[in-house]
Structures are given as C-alpha cells and as structure tokens.
Amino acid sequence: MVIAKTPGGTIIDLSGDIRRRRRERLVKAVFFAAATFSILISLAIVLALVGKASSFVSSIELNQLWADGWFPRRGRFQLPALLVHSLIITGIAMLVAVPFGLGSAVYLSEYARSGVRRVLKPTLEILAGIPSVVLGFFALQFISPNIVRGLFPGAQSANLLSAGIAVGILTVPLVASVAEDAMRAVPLSLREASYGLGAKRWHTALRVVFPAAISGIIAAMILGISRAVGETMVVALAAGLNGILNLNPIEGGLTMTGAMANLAVGSDQVAGDVSAFQSLFFVGLVLFALTLGLNVMSERLVRRYRQRY
C-alpha cells in the first residue's frame, strides 16, 4: 500500500501497488481474448463455407442444381431433392418431438411432484446424451424392421420414416427442456388467479400457463426443427442413399446432411473431381444458413418471454 504525503495531510492510495494493477489488467485481457475467440470461430466457419461454396457455384452450370437427382460424381446436383428429403425427415421428427416433448414439459412443469421430477428429468437427460450414431443404429435395426415394416410391409429397409422417428426421439429432450423452462418462467400469480376463479387443473395448465408461455414454446419447436435439419448420423445410417427426388416416406432419400456425410466418406475417390467434392461446402452453406436463421428466430422469441416475466 502506498502512503502519499499531500499538502492536506496523509492519504492512503486505495488502488493498490502498481504490480497488482498490472496483473489485474493482464488477466482481464487474457479473459477478453478467450471470449472473442468465439467470434474468430464464426468468421472461420463463414469464410470456409462461403469461399469454397462460391468456387463450387462458379465451377458448375447453374442448371445442374436442378438436374435429375443428386449424383455429384456425374455432375448432377439437384439441391431441391436434398431439401425435400430433409424437410420430410424434419416433419416426421416434429410429429414425434412436439407432442411428446411438449407433453413432457407440461407434466414436468405443472404436474410432477418433486420426487417424480427427480427421477424422470434425469431420464430425459440421459436420452439427450445418447450419441446420435447409436440412435442411427437403433433406427436401422429396430425401428425400421419392427415398427415401420410391421406397419408397411412394402417399406425399404432404409427409409425416411424410421430415420424421421429416430431424429424425433433425439429431439424430444431438447424441446421438452426449452419448453419447460418457458412454462416455469410464467409467474405463479397467473396460476393462483386461475384457481381463484374456479378453473380446473387441466384448464390452468393448458389454457392459462401454456398460452402464457407460448413464445418460449414456439422457440422450443424452432430449436427442435433446427436440430432435426442438422442431424447427420441417424440419416446417414437409416435414411438411405437415394439421390432421386422421393416423396414417399417408406422409401429412402438422401438429405442435405446425408449427402455431406457421403461426400466425406467417399472423399478419397472423388478427390480428383473438384466440383463433386466442393459441392460439400455448398450444401454445408445452405444448411448453415438455414439453421442459423432458425436459431436467431428462436432466440428472439426466448428474449420476448424473458422480458415479459
């Protein structure tokens, strides 16, 4: 500590000695650098995608993007086919994840006693921690032969439906946890007012709390969609390799992520064919833009309910 003599008397310099202050500045700078590192990562992702994708686009004729089917080695890059397959998988996944995820969220937030919650919530967390490649194997070896082909005997062994169901299972915990957070953020006074007016329990849960949390619930669904669109291993294993546009969910179809995985797996063989391999970056850019848009949208909605309550 520095004791300085001034004309008025003695004051103690509270800011401490110079070495202590210097260390303080240094530590702060290091932490700041760590925080800004994430911006560098984003920049690197965008640069990698945009740079390589633009050289892909300039290396092909644009009508190749509407050619018949996605066959990179034959110069046919029908992007709409991949998009449609991704959309079908995502739609099926949402048919699973929305009812089961939201139902679980309402139960955990409005009905479960703390003992029940302590057991069931970790189960959802374990399900969330199962690697997606495991779900892919499950889709191929269990969902497809036992459920999908049980219902539709004509189904191909790799089909959009079983991949979609498995992606849905993977998405349930995410939808449930985001939606539950939103419902728990609804003030208790709303529930009390509802009971005070004589509303039943289900009425309070589904007609008062649920609508009050709607922006967070929509955010949960959008996040689920984003997760389902980007899911790779399940579709790479269970959705099939069919690059021709197919609208039938019991047959196979290549999705955006499936096409990327294929290019990665066969990258040695196609290394000579520059535009085939670079289509990987183009599909990656489309996927990145799509998921980024969805994530930004859901973030806006979450901020809205945070501000309100």
Binding site: S114, P131, L188, Y195, K200, G230, M233
Partner: protein, 321 residues
C-alpha cells in the same frame, strides 16, 4: 426442493381447498396423457438399451470382452475396437486441454468482467448461435482449417495422411464443444451469490483475486459437472470427425515404433463412434452384433463418466457449502 416446486405445491393446496381433493375425470385423463408422453421416453430408452444388449449377446458369448482389445479387421469375427478407444481418448485429451481453459476463461470474462454493452451482447449472441450450428458444419471447419494446416507440414507432419491427424480431429471437437462449455460455465458462475463478490471487493480484493479465491472455488463443482457432461458429448460425436479426418476403413495400421509426436501428428487415427458408424454400414451379418457390442462399450464408458461427474459434484458441494 426448488423454489418453483415449493410455490407450486402452495398453489396446489389453495386449489385443493377450492375444488376438493379429488380430480375431475377430465383432469385425471389429461394428467395421465401427459404422464404417458413423459414415460414414453423412459420406455424408448429401456427398449434401446435392451435391444442393443440383446443384439450384442452373440459377440459377448463367443468372444467375451476380447473384441475390446482387438484391432480393426475386415472380418467380423476378428475385428475389434481398440484403435477407436485409443483414438477417442486421445481426442478427448485435446478437447480437455483446449476447450476447458478457453471455455472457462471466456465464461469468466462474460459473467464477471463484461459490462452490458453492445460488444458483450454480440459475443453472447454469437456463442449461443455457435452452439446451434450442426456438428457436420464444424467438420467442414476442421477440414478447411485444421486438416489444411497440418497438410502443410506443421510440427513435422507430412504427406502420408494428408494432415488428417488426431490433433486436427481433437481441435475440431474442441471448437465444437467450446460454445456449450462457455454456456454451462457461465450458468455455474451466475449461480454464485452476489453477496460473495460484494464482500470480497468490499474488503479490498481486486476482481481477479475475488474470482480466484471466492467465485471459482464455489462454482467449481457445477463447472466440473457441466464440463464433464460437455466433454462426454465430444466423446460420442461422429459427424464432425467424418469430415475432420478420422479413418473410415476396416483396416489401417499405425507404425509400431512411432514416437508420441509422430503418433499424434503423422499417423492415422479413428474414434469409437466412427467405428460404430462404419460397422453399422457393413452388409455382412456378423457386423450387426459387433456394432451392438461396440455401442454397449461406448454407452458404458459414457454413463460411467457422467455418473462420476454427478457423484463428484455431490461430494464437492458438501465440502464448499
């Protein structure tokens, strides 16, 4: 019991005194339907585990656990997963060394130093968006950035494997989990009571001294658990590694006399989830049960690590609180 649950049970008491103890039929139906949706996840989880274990039984019966220490092979009867386990552990080593310090430092800055201004909000939004980027896109980053760097012969790596070494894979995974690491650590720091900071600063400690001696020790159990769960995610990750250079063949060899530096920079590698993906793609029937057996090993390792993290948290919490 959380504050929410406590307040909710108070509300429940009020409801019961207004409506009586018994639920109406509609209420019971709704409650059961909701519980059904939640229990389906439990049923799916049990089905998945039971089905996988049943499918793996032929391998466990005929080979015991020897497939764990056997090397890769094109023949389903001889193939093992040892290279995958070693590769995954090496990858996790890089993730811990890179992502843990970087993630904690970034979270400390955002929670303890940063004022609420545009730059901070931009960094925060950027991190949340990065957490939502599909993992295969991180694979592109790994391929474009890290594999490319090592292809140029950094650290003595040369042509043989075209830069697809375990460092490139490890860095890709580290970058992939970094945003999640930052978010979970920031949550742990936010849970530290405000009064602790104020008390430390009031007696003259600097910000760093406050963080080092008071905030980090209290938040440590939660940071540790969050980090372990995050790192477990990297352990099961495969999409990014497909692009970032893990070997996708049923056989590859590593030089026997390779030094450590050579091993990490100049030799091919693979990971357990990648082996699972590769086995699952094989048409021969023998690979189905081998895939299931490899999955059992992966899940046992993941569950052990996760359970250890939760136990460690309980233990530390008792010591510090």
């Amino acid at each position: 019991m959380s504050a929410h649950a406590e307040a909710l049970s108070a509300t429940e008491l009020v409801r019961q005194s207004i409506e009586g103890r018994r639920l109406s039929p509609v209420d019971t139906l709704v409650a059961f339907t909701l519980l059904f949706t939640l229990l389906s996840s439990v049923v799916i989880l049990i089905t998945l585990l039971a089905d996988t274990i049943a499918a793996a039984m032929p391998v466990f019966q005929s080979r015991g656990l020897s497939f764990v220490t056997d090397s890769l092979s094109p023949s389903a009867e001889e193939a093992g997963i040892w290279q995958g386990i070693m590769g995954s552990l090496a990858l996790i080593g890089f993730v811990i060394v890179v992502a843990f310090p970087l993630g904690v430092a970034a979270a400390v800055y955002l929670e303890e130093y940063a004022s609420d201004n545009r730059v901070t909000r931009f960094i925060g939004a950027n991190i949340r968006n990065l957490a939502g980027v599909p993992s295969i896109v991180y694979g592109i980053l790994g391929l474009f950035l890290f594999v490319e760097i090592f292809m140029g012969g950094v650290f003595g790596a040369e042509g043989g494997i075209g830069g697809r070494n375990v460092i490139a894979g490890g860095l890709t995974l580290a970058v992939l989990v970094l945003p999640i690491m930052i978010i979970t650590t920031a949550e742990a720091l936010r849970a530290v009571p405000r009064g602790l900071r104020d008390a430390s600063l009031a007696v003259g400690a600097t910000r760093w001294e406050t963080i080092r001696h008071h905030i980090l020790p209290v938040a440590f159990p939660a940071i540790l658990t969050g980090s372990v769960l995050t790192i477990a995610r990297a352990f099961g990750e495969s999409a990014a590694l497909l692009l970032a250079g893990a070997q996708l063949s049923l056989y590859f060899s590593v030089a026997n006399d390779a030094s450590f530096v050579d091993l990490v920079s100049n030799q091919p590698y693979t990971a357990l989830p990648i082996i699972i993906y590769n086995f699952a793609r094989q048409p021969q029937a023998g690979f189905v049960s081998l895939t299931a057996a490899a999955i059992v090993v992966l899940l046992v390792m993941l569950l052990t690590v996760n359970a250890a993290a939760v136990l460690a948290r309980d233990r530390f919490e008792r010591r510090y609180r």
